[in-house]
């Protein structure tokens, strides 16, 4: 591992200031479950010169309800989401998604902010430097995306532009289905809000140097909704999603007032399946509707050579998630 300066920040403002000063050469560290792998594999041409440890920043690990919102501090661990009674009662989708991540050890260390901001799992992007040098790619600003001609079995089927790595975060998928926003702190004390799905751009996160996630705000549905998170992995458990889906249905007897269907593992960002939502919204929902929603969810998918199988899995997962919402 290349050497760097390590500073423990006492506050979010201090962390933002330090990282802003470092320009693009600083990295924040919360649980470290992703960052350490990135550093040890030396996947970037230049390693960070500064690591700012956030673990000592207080007040950012709470999960609380304020009015119609649940507020989740960026340093809340995945384990704390997994065992939160508040979430279990108000936003069970988040509990399911948090539980689907990694191992108990990873969930104990890993944070909400880290899960949302982790680097992609693309195996070209992640190739370890010490076994023949790192792989350059579009995402690194060094050449084309190698997945296009290479082995793209885990890459996207929707919305790739140049880079076809998929958003690896399970939480982002669930949070998008819940209409959550992230509150981003800037180096000058500023705050801005973006929808969770808008955190992800085709080759990077929207965060500027010196910007850090402060918290996630999730609206509590006015009426209880049916929520289901499903994740298909090659290995179970401890794996990233080949495809995942988060579904939230606002039921009205046999009908459905509103629905949110979001796919993970298929796109650089959480993928709103708007056509599937359209199928579900308004009318009665039954097994046939669920199947049609599955079909609609994958309309317009553009598979590459090795990942067309993801489409069938996505269709199935949407159908099953909707059915699970009916049964719930």
């Amino acid at each position: 591992m290349r050497s760097f300066t390590h500073v423990t920040a006492g506050s979010l403002a201090e962390a933002c200031a330090l990282l802003s000063e470092a320009g693009g050469k600083g990295r924040a560290n919360a649980g470290g479950t992703d960052l350490l792998g990135v550093l040890k594999d030396g996947i970037h041409a230049q390693g960070p010169e500064l690591i700012v440890d956030l673990k000592a920043v207080s007040g950012l690990a709470e999960v609380s309800r304020e009015g119609d919102e649940v507020r989740i501090g960026a340093l809340a661990t995945l384990a704390s989401l997994d065992r939160s009674t508040l979430l279990r009662e108000t936003l069970p989708l988040l509990v399911q998604a948090a539980h689907a991540v990694g191992t108990p050890q990873v969930r104990t260390m890993g944070t909400v902010g880290g899960n949302l901001c982790q680097e992609v799992r693309c195996w070209y992007y992640r190739y370890p430097r010490h076994v023949g040098g790192p792989v350059g790619c579009l995402r690194k600003g060094d050449g084309p995306c190698l997945a296009v001609k290479g082995d793209n079995r885990y890459h996207g089927v929707f919305g790739g532009r140049g880079c076809f790595a998929v958003c690896p975060s399970d939480l982002a998928v669930a949070l998008t289905a819940l209409g959550a926003v992230v509150d981003i702190a800037g180096p000058d004390g500023s705050r801005r809000e973006v929808a969770v799905e808008d955190l992800y751009e085709p080759t990077t996160l929207t965060l500027a140097p010196g910007e850090l996630l402060a918290e996630v705000r999730v609206p509590v549905p006015a009426r209880p909704t049916r929520q289901t998170f499903l994740k298909f992995t090659v290995r179970e458990p401890v794996d990233f999603a080949v495809v995942s889906v988060a579904a939230s249905l606002d039921r009205d007897g046999p009908g459905c007032r509103d629905a949110r269907i979001v796919l993970g593992g298929v796109s650089p960002r959480p993928h709103r399946a708007l056509q599937a939502e359209e199928v579900l919204r308004g009318g009665d929902v039954d097994d046939q509707t669920a199947a049609r929603a599955g079909e609609a969810a994958v309309a317009g998918a553009k598979p590459m050579r090795h990942n067309a199988y993801k489409i069938g899995i996505a269709r199935t997962l949407v159908e099953r998630a909707v059915r699970a919402c009916l049964d719930a």
């Binding site: 191992t103 370890p128 076994v131 023949g132 090659v234 458990p237 090795h306 199988y309 899995i313 199935t316």
Partner: protein, 764 residues
């Protein structure tokens, strides 16, 4: 049944368990040799290239760097079959092939130095699979191996080493057949056996020609033999093996690391530590061989095989250490599992531009069987024959025989394994669960359950030579000098049980020396399930010989001939007179030790057997496959250690075993030649959080091996599973599959074929 014994067959604590569970066991990572330097390897980014220029001046100038080596300044040591593997070569043949070596005062300095080395390459075309390597005009990896085909056979197995099977008359055999099927299957996922501890070595060179090696190894003497040959037999080699964090055979592939650490130590005049990272272990170390078989099989309605002919192509990657030996053993094992009077099986070992394949448990037979069984299944399906009945019928029986790896015929004198197979089928419920070929056992919407069965057996349970010493001390203690490394199986603890049983000493009064070729006698090591019979025989004989000397010495003292004496708990007394007699101290005096020597000679007339039944559930909408149940059935002759055996059999899933049919594979990028999944997220490795129901059925039919009538079965537990899983998935889907592993992509494609075929039937 085991009441006649004090320790054999009884649960006893494993000797190293307290150290392992308290974290105090010393593994390779804990090893510190005074003055030790740390080495790092610069690796090629190209799958095939000539190294045209290397500039190491800046690396040599870095403070803390003690040696930098390139192909231009390393000794001409060579290993492999043929001797293709050098310390460093001017041609690189896979992504990750070593280009330069650095030894420095710390790993960080060594790593920094690697970044200061400039290399120029002239790129060559690369071949990544059998078809490319064997194509007309393909680039050659080695000038002495035209067509990328390596010389068949290995000198280790003698001049008649099996390089294929030519037995009987296949044409006559096919004429007798009631069904003939031709097909192709491949087992080419190149899984990594992946012992938890990655390979490593510390080398300490002493001028002019001596090296001491501390190794993560399962067999110190076998390593020494390989290394000694690699050094042109001109170096005095001492190898020391400590606790080994797993091997599954693969640690023998450390030979290049060993040569490199030795060269660095010689250059730096300091001990040098070279250990692989997990990523290097996954991307630049030993994989299972890649196999493709095209075969024609003839079968009679009564389940008798009449002829098998075909070709077994073996992809060994950039070089072979033992692949030809694996071909030989595989050909032998095929006859053990599939009695057939007529064979014509040809083989080729082929080089490709990827990390090397080599020694992994299952050693050739697992791979050949994984390909033959799917082809045979099609013949069985045509005659509607139950695969269990077929495998049961055709497994070697007393009175049969086989050509073993050395090309010689051996008459089999071991157990009939039919009762063990029957017990396994009973435990699994095979008769109820088997619904016929390509028929699921249960269907629940998209979830379809299927069953499969496989079998494997190995004659190498009695291979090669083992020696051991047992030393008796007057204090009533004994020491076993054996080159048995603890590589996870518990075998050293079992050897101590055998010695304690012979000497009738309390178990805790028998101890084991560390494997050290300067101290412990020759032993091939615990490979091929030979620990129980071969190594056990040497330990038993050494203990018996020591006991004989003790009783002879005591005869004068106790005024009775040795044959009327016995020893127990450190005393010698007349038979049945435990209250009399004398302590060892009184007999030996304080200034004497007794040393017994035991030697085991090769015996290829016994074979073990493992039959594995599996049940899987396939989701036809996601392509996911879940392994629900596994039943392993065997006959161990006599169980030495129940818990250890249970663990060995439960090990059937990993170490490139059953899971190679489900999700374990090394994924090599066809465009860059890189191993894409060199991490434990993308290399799918089962965790303890996700285990199927396991049941192990072990019979104890005494076998004529050594005095405890036991044979080893650990190694083969991985071998029958992959073919069984492929059969089960094929049955669940109703579509024959012939490729491993059954990824979601393959399952969904197969299911689509089945649906399309059904739709075609319907419209006809």
């Amino acid at each position: 049944m085991s009441d006649e014994y004090r320790y054999i067959g009884k649960p006893t604590p494993r000797r190293d368990a307290p150290q392992i569970v308290t974290g105090s066991a010393t593994f390779f990572g804990d090893l510190v040799v005074p003055g030790m330097l740390h080495a790092k390897v610069l690796r090629s980014p190209h799958p095939h290239a000539l190294v045209t220029e290397i500039d190491v001046a800046r690396a040599r100038g870095l403070s803390g760097v003690k040696a930098v080596l390139t192909h231009a300044d390393v000794p001409d040591w060579r290993a492999g079959t043929p001797r293709h593997l050098r310390v460093l070569d001017s041609t690189v043949r896979y992504v990750g092939d070593p280009v330069a070596l650095v030894a420095a005062t710390s790993e960080a300095v060594a790593e920094e130095a690697l970044g200061l080395i400039d290399v120029s390459y002239e790129l060559l075309p690369a071949v990544f699979d059998l078809d490319e390597a064997l194509a007309e005009g393909a680039v050659q990896l080695y000038a002495d191996s035209p067509g990328n085909v390596l010389r068949p056979g290995t000198r280790w197995f003698g001049p008649d080493c099996l390089t294929g099977l030519a037995i009987g008359d296949v044409e006559a055999g096919f004429a007798e057949a009631e069904v003939i099927v031709e097909g192709e299957a491949s087992y080419a996922g190149l899984p990594n056996p992946l012992p938890p501890e990655s390979p490593g070595v510390v080398a300490q060179w002493e001028e002019p020609d001596r090296v001491t090696l501390w190794l993560s190894t399962q067999a110190a003497h076998q390593e020494k033999m390989i290394i000694h040959a690699a050094f042109g037999r001109a170096v005095d080699v001492r190898t020391i093996g400590g606790a080994c964090g797993g091997s599954y055979g693969s640690k023998f592939m450390s030979i290049q690391l060993i040569m490199q650490a030795t060269a660095l130590s010689r250059a730096a005049r300091r001990p040098v530590r070279l250990g692989l990272t997990k990523e290097e272990h996954l991307a630049a170390f030993g994989l299972r061989i890649g196999s493709r078989v095209r075969a024609k099989v003839g079968l009679r309605r009564d389940g008798a095989l009449t002829a098998i002919s075909g070709e077994w192509l073996v992809d060994t990657g950039h070089y072979s250490l033992t692949t030809q030996a694996q071909v030989a053993v595989g050909c032998g094992e095929a006859q053990v599992a599939l009695r057939c009077p007529n064979w014509d099986l040809r083989t080729k070992v082929v080089c490709t531009n990827r990390p090397a394949s080599g020694i992994v448990r299952g050693f050739g037979g697992q791979e050949l069987k994984a390909c033959l069984l799917p082809i045979l299944s099609r013949a069985l399906a045509e005659l509607d024959l139950d695969p269990f009945d077929f495998l049961r019928r055709n497994y070697v029986k007393p009175g049969d025989g086989y050509f073993w790896r050395d090309g010689r015929w051996y008459d089999y004198r071991g157990n009939d394994y039919t009762p063990a197979m029957d017990a396994g089928a009973e435990a699994f419920g095979w008769r109820e669960r088997w619904k016929g070929w390509l028929r699921p056992t249960e269907v629940d919407g998209p979830l379809r359950t299927g069953v499969g069965v496989g079998v494997h057996g190995n004659v190498d349970i009695g291979e090669s030579v083992s020696e051991a010493y047992v030393r008796l001390d007057p204090e009533g203690r004994a020491t076993l000098y054996s080159s048995a490394s603890e590589h996870g199986t518990g075998q050293p603890s079992n050897l101590l049980k055998m010695v304690a049983e012979v000497l009738q000493l309390p178990l805790e009064r028998v101890t084991l020396t560390a494997a050290d070729t300067a101290v412990t006698p020759y032993d091939m090591g615990p490979v091929g399930s030979r620990g129980t019979y071969a190594m056990g025989s040497a330990a038993i004989k050494a203990a018996e010989e020591a006991r004989r000397q003790l009783l002879t010495l005591a005869a004068a003292n106790l005024d009775a001939p040795p044959e009327e004496l016995e020893t127990r708990d450190g005393r010698v007394f007349r038979l049945g007179r435990a209250d009399s007699g004398a302590a060892w101290m009184a007999i030996m005096g304080p200034e004497r030790t007794i040393m017994g020597h035991g030697r085991f000679e090769p015996d290829f007339t016994l074979a073990n057997c493992m039959m594995t039944f599996v049940e899987v559930r396939v989701d036809t909408e996601t392509g996911g496959t879940e392994l629900l149940r596994v039943v392993n059935a065997t006959d161990a002759g006599r169980i030495i250690d129940p818990a250890g055996l249970e663990n060995q059999l439960n090990g059937c899933l990993g170490s490139a075993g059953i899971d190679t049919a489900l999700f374990e594979e090394t994924i090599i990028d066809r465009t860059t030649g890189r191993v894409l999944n060199a991490n434990l997220i993308d290399y799918k490795w089962r965790t303890f959080a996700h285990l199927p129901q396991m049941r192990n059925v072990v019979l104890e039919t005494p076998v004529d091996s050594h005095r405890f009538h036991a044979i080893g079965v650990g190694e083969v537990s991985t071998a029958p599973g992959p073919a069984a899983v492929l059969m089960a998935v094929s049955n669940a889907l109703g579509v024959p599959l012939a490729e491993y592993p059954v990824t979601p992509e393959k399952v969904l494609a197969a299911w689509k074929r089945a649906m399309d075929a059904q739709a075609g039937e319907a419209t006809r």
